[in-house]
Each structure stands twice: as structure tokens, then as C-alpha cells.
Subunit: 353 residues, 2 copies
């Protein structure tokens, strides 16, 4: 049984004020093709048994994104009572799926990435699923870099493990610009896509080995997804587990991790600078969306979801104005929008107290 | 009879999107002390016979600003059917006032300036009125510069004409920064405030001499302000007259123009850069108004009239977001906001056609 586990926690705070808690990034339609999460589901529908799929999202987001998830049944959309990063979410999904069917293969997909060619994506996934089924491998997808990107982590691919499958030599942190250029030239580095394919039982074994706290807490989980027992039991589970990513917690430590190099267009839309690649650019290099007016301005990213946003004499900045607020920053500070969001959260808490 | 002629045409487009056609600059309360136009009226109330005052404003603005003009009677608020700059407006006011009372002295005041010390302002005005009455002079107020401002025109003051009154050697265009520094050091240059004091009959004689087209068109004006006859007659007048400023049309050409040097705080609030002087600055030199969040940002002018405006990693820019729209530009391009407004107007016209 092959199915999808869609990770839809978080709200994409680095795209504030376009994304918000009430309109999380996975619900944005950044290029007119539909919400990111609905396309994540539709993209794998021809390939996987989505009736058995699982979605993990914040409890407060659950009702909002439910309508986007068909044909995944409502009962299989799990509202996480707390954010604990990816490893506890993946372990919980693996626990549920392996109980249902010991042969379950799970395709772990972030809900908020942009992928260009769905058919090419599915071809890559079939190779990955094959490796997971035949060799019980831990498989990840690595995207062939097309630019010296400093906002992605990288995977250094080693020798061939099977046709179109390579061993992972190492996972590499986000590089500086110089290192990113070396990676691009080298040819053996791939972007870490955050997509994983493995048998549910295999990742449970790895979790037991590298994250015993998480593994032990799975004993707390009882009942079936969609039921009250399950819901109250996972509250205990999320209370018990540490917050840890699957990359750091398992992938960087495990043996025989393999990567399927992929060539489909892929973007994690991780920050405002990404929209520069997504939105149409004018002859002055401005990427814009909505009612925007530019005078003597070059290479900006400008977005309005309502009234006109006018930019005069500016270069290399992000300007976004929505019903939630307005953001202005240099493009090369776009990753630091988190600081703004953190400050807004502090203010909010101060006002409430 | 001494009265005020308040020039309240235009809407202050360089303060868009805080000022708009529907909320013109003269109706802004930039520092919490009341609207600029209401303070213009109140400031001269102890000194002038405002029952005989006149206000000239755009026909479309008339109803909006009326409530701010008391005790100037409603009938004496003239809606201009078209903008023709200051000379035709002042000639029309002089025509009305001199018909009512040949000895009328008119104090011509822009409606949208900020003046710090009203008592000091009135003392200066009394000197100016004395010069207009005793010597039938064309009097202007010149503000002693406190910084090398490049956004104001200057008046070069010459020899004394009377106590506290000096002859005007010349009117000088907005200088570049170097020249402005020389003017400041020189001591004989004053800021051209756009405030004028003269007998109505005197300015009519000058208008006849230097702007005969305007003067001739005054023959079209019949009836009393507030009446239908007057209203329809000035439609013809505004149709006939050229658009010309009193500075260019009369003051720069006329003989025996005098200036009263003034030391009260004065600001024409002519562009966003002016708000830097008006609004409180934080320790990083940011002048802000409304719900603003700054991270790693210095020397900016930031304004919100609603949702939060967040500025991250920016220096020396203007960021304004209102219910009308959002503006971002470098502070030193603030004067060019006109270009944005012109472009918006074009768009609007294109959409309508």
C-alpha cells in the first residue's frame, strides 16, 4: 500500500503579511494555479492510495485547509495540538500506517512547495517508491540545482545504488554564496527537497534507534484517526515528544540513505525572494502581483492584495501590502521576516497581558 | 477693514497617500493639534475681521472643508470651478473685497502650513499690516532659515524700509544644497512663506499692470459671494484667466515689495520629508506615526493609518500605508511623489475611457 503523508503544519511566517495564521502559506495561490496544498494532493492522486493518506497540520488550521484535501478523508487529517517539527509528525504517521498495513510505503510531502511538471515529478516518485519497496531504503528526492541558491540545504550524492538512485554521502547546511557556486559547479550536490519515501516500518525502526523518546511516546497513541480516543491520545504524545526535524534527528545519522536526483522545477517558496522567480517580471526586473505602480524602480518584489502599492526610485527591495499589514525590506533581508513576525507576536502577547 | 483670504485649493498631492482628493492636506492633523486649515483660521481670528474673510478652494473640496472654516461665513467660501494657481484667486478676492470696502487690507494665507507660535505670528502680521496700510506696500513674510533647506524658495532682503521691514532685493528659486548653505550663512536670505499682506486696491492695480488678462476677466464677475449670479459669473472668469502664480505673475516684477522677517516656527509640510521634522523620532532617527514596527532600520519616515507597517533593514526611506494605498520611496525622492500621483491619474482616466 502506497500513500501520502502530507506535512501541513506551520503557516509560512517568512511570507508575512501575505501568509498569516488565518491564511497560511499552503493556502496561498502564488501563481494562479490553485492553492499549494490542493496541488500537492492532486499531484500524487494518480499514483497513491489517498483514501489511506494522512495529513498533519496545526489543530487551529485544520478546519481551514480541510476543503483543499479531497480525496483524503476528513478523519485522516490530524490536527497537531502543538508544533514539534517533522520527526514526531512523521513517526506518528508511520505508526498509524504500519498498524493498518505492515507493508505501507509512505511518501512524505511538504504541503507548501511549488512543483512545475507533475508528470516528471511522478516519474521520479515511482523510482523512489521502487527503491523503498525493493531495498527497504530511506529515500529522499534531491533536486538538481539550477542556480547557486543559498536558501536551501544540499545533499551530496555519492555512488550509484541502483539505476537513477545514488547513495547520500552527506547532508549539507545552507551554504554561503561562494560555497553555493562551488556546489553548483561540482555537479554532485542536490537541493534537499524535504520529500521522503520509505516503508512505514523502516522509519519506525530508525526512529527507535535515533529518537527513542519519540519512539517510546508512540505507545501513548491509541484509537483510530478521526476518533476521540486518538485525538486525546495524541495530545499526550505531543506533550511528551521533543521538537526535532527528521533531517537532523534521523536522516543525517542513518545508514543506507539514498537520493533520487530529480530535474522537475521545484521551489519551496520559502521567502519573499522566491516570488521573484514565480511572478512575471517587467523589463526593469520587477516581479509584481496585484495593483502595483512602479516609477524609476528596478529589481523589486512588490505585491498588493488590495489598494495600490506605489514604489518610487527603489531597487532590490520587497514591498508587500495586504489586509494584514505592510512589509518593506531589502531583498537580501527577506529571510529575516521571521524577526518581524516574532516582534509582532511579542506585541500581541503584551497587549493581551 | 482687515481680513483674511485663505487659499485652500489643491489637495497636497506630494503627501499622497495620506492626503487624497477626498482628504486634502489642509484637512490633515499632522501633529495632533487640529486640521491645518482650522488652525489657519483660528490663528488670525483675534486679529482680523473674519466675518468678511474669503476662502478659495476647489469646488469639489468646498463641502468637505466648510465645517473647518468657522467663523468665516459659508457664503464667503468660494468654490473654484478650476485650478488657476494663486494669481487669479487672489485677484478675485481683491476684487470682491475692494468693492465691499475700498480700504480693505487682505492677509493672504495658504491653508496648509504649520506655524508654531501663533502669538509671534500675529505680532509679525501686525507689522506687515501696518506697512500695507501706512505705505500701501506689497508685503510678504519671510521666515529666517534655520537649516539649508532646498525645498523652499528664498527672498533676498535688502535695506530697511521701516522698523522690522526690509525691501525685497529679489525672489530666488529653490536652491541646490550648496547654494542653500550659502544662503543660510549669508543671513540676508529668508524663506518665501507664500503669505502676503496688502490693500486689495493695490494688488488690483498690480494685477492690471502685470496680468492684464486676469484683470480684464474680473469684469465678468458680478453678484455677491454666496449667490448664484456670482457662482455662474466666476465660472466664466476661471474659464478666461491663465494659470499663473502671484509670485511669478506679480511679486517678482513689482516695485516696492517689502518683506517682514519672521522668526516663528514655520513649515509648509510640502512633502514627506517634512514629516520627519513634525513627528517624534526614535533613538534611531525614525519619525513614525500610527502602528509601525521597525527592525534594524534608521532615519526613516513611516506612517500607517490602519494595519501595522513593518520596516526591516531599511535606511532613509519613506513608507506610508493608508486606506488609499501604499507608498515607498527614498526620502530624497519624496518631492517626486507627484510623478506617482500623475501616473495614478492617467490610469484612472484610462480605466474610465
Amino acid at each position: 500500500m502506497r500513500t501520502a503523508v502530507i506535512l501541513a503544519g506551520g503557516w509560512g511566517e517568512r511570507l508575512w503579511p501575505l501568509s498569516t495564521r488565518e491564511r497560511p502559506k499552503q493556502l496561498l495561490d502564488v501563481d494562479g494555479g490553485g492553492t499549494l496544498v490542493s496541488r500537492t494532493v492532486r499531484r500524487v492522486e494518480p499514483l497513491l492510495d489517498l483514501e489511506r493518506g494522512l495529513v498533519l497540520t496545526g489543530e487551529s488550521l485544520r478546519a481551514t485547509i480541510l476543503p483543499e484535501l479531497s480525496p483524503i478523508p476528513e478523519g485522516r487529517v490530524i490536527g497537531e495540538p502543538a508544533g514539534r517539527n517533522t520527526a514526531p509528525a512523521i513517526a506518528l504517521a508511520a505508526h498509524v500506517l504500519s498498524r493498518e498495513n505492515p507493508d505501507s510505503v509512505m511518501v512524505v510531502l511538504p504541503a507548501d512547495h511549488l512543483i512545475g511538471d507533475a508528470a516528471s515529478f511522478r516519474e521520479t516518485l515511482e523510482i523512489a517508491i521502487g527503491a523503498a519497496e525493493k531495498h527497504d531504503a530511506l529515500v529522499t528526492l534531491g533536486i538538481r540545482p539550477t542556480r547557486p541558491e543559498t536558501e536551501y540545504g544540499y545533499i551530496r550524492a555519492g555512488e550509484a545504488a541502483a539505476p537513477d538512485v545514488r547513495r547520500v554521502d552527506s547532508f549539507v547546511e545552507k551554504p554561503d554564496a561562494e560555497t553555493a557556486a562551488l556546489y553548483l559547479a561540482d555537479g554532485s550536490y542536490l537541493w534537499n527537497s524535504g520529500m521522503f519515501i520509505w516503508r512505514a516500518e523502516r522509519i519506525l525502526r530508525e526512529t527507535a534507534k535515533y529518537l527513542p523518546d519519540v519512539s517510546d511516546a508512540l505507545d501513548l497513541v491509541t484509537g483510530e484517526p478521526g476518533g476521540d480516543e486518538f485525538r486525546s491520545s495524541i495530545a499526550e504524545y505531543y506533550d511528551s515528544v521533543p521538537s526535532v526535524s527528521i533531517d537532523y534527528g534521523v536522516m543525517e545519522k542513518a545508514d543506507d540513505v539514498v537520493v533520487v536526483p530529480a530535474t522537475f522545477d521545484w521551489d519551496d517558496v520559502g521567502a519573499w525572494s522566491a516570488l521573484e522567480r514565480v511572478w512575471e517580471q517587467d523589463s526593469m526586473g520587477n516581479a509584481t502581483e496585484g495593483d502595483v505602480l512602479l516609477v524609476d524602480s528596478r529589481n523589486n518584489v512588490v505585491c498588493s492584495d488590495g489598494n495600490v502599492v506605489a514604489v518610487l526610485g527603489m531597487t532590490d527591495v520587497v514591498v508587500v501590502s495586504t489586509g494584514q499589514g505592510t512589509l518593506v525590506c531589502p531583498k537580501d533581508r527577506a529571510r529575516d521576516v521571521r524577526e518581524v513576525v516574532a516582534e509582532l507576536r511579542l506585541r500581541h502577547e503584551r497587549r493581551r497581558s
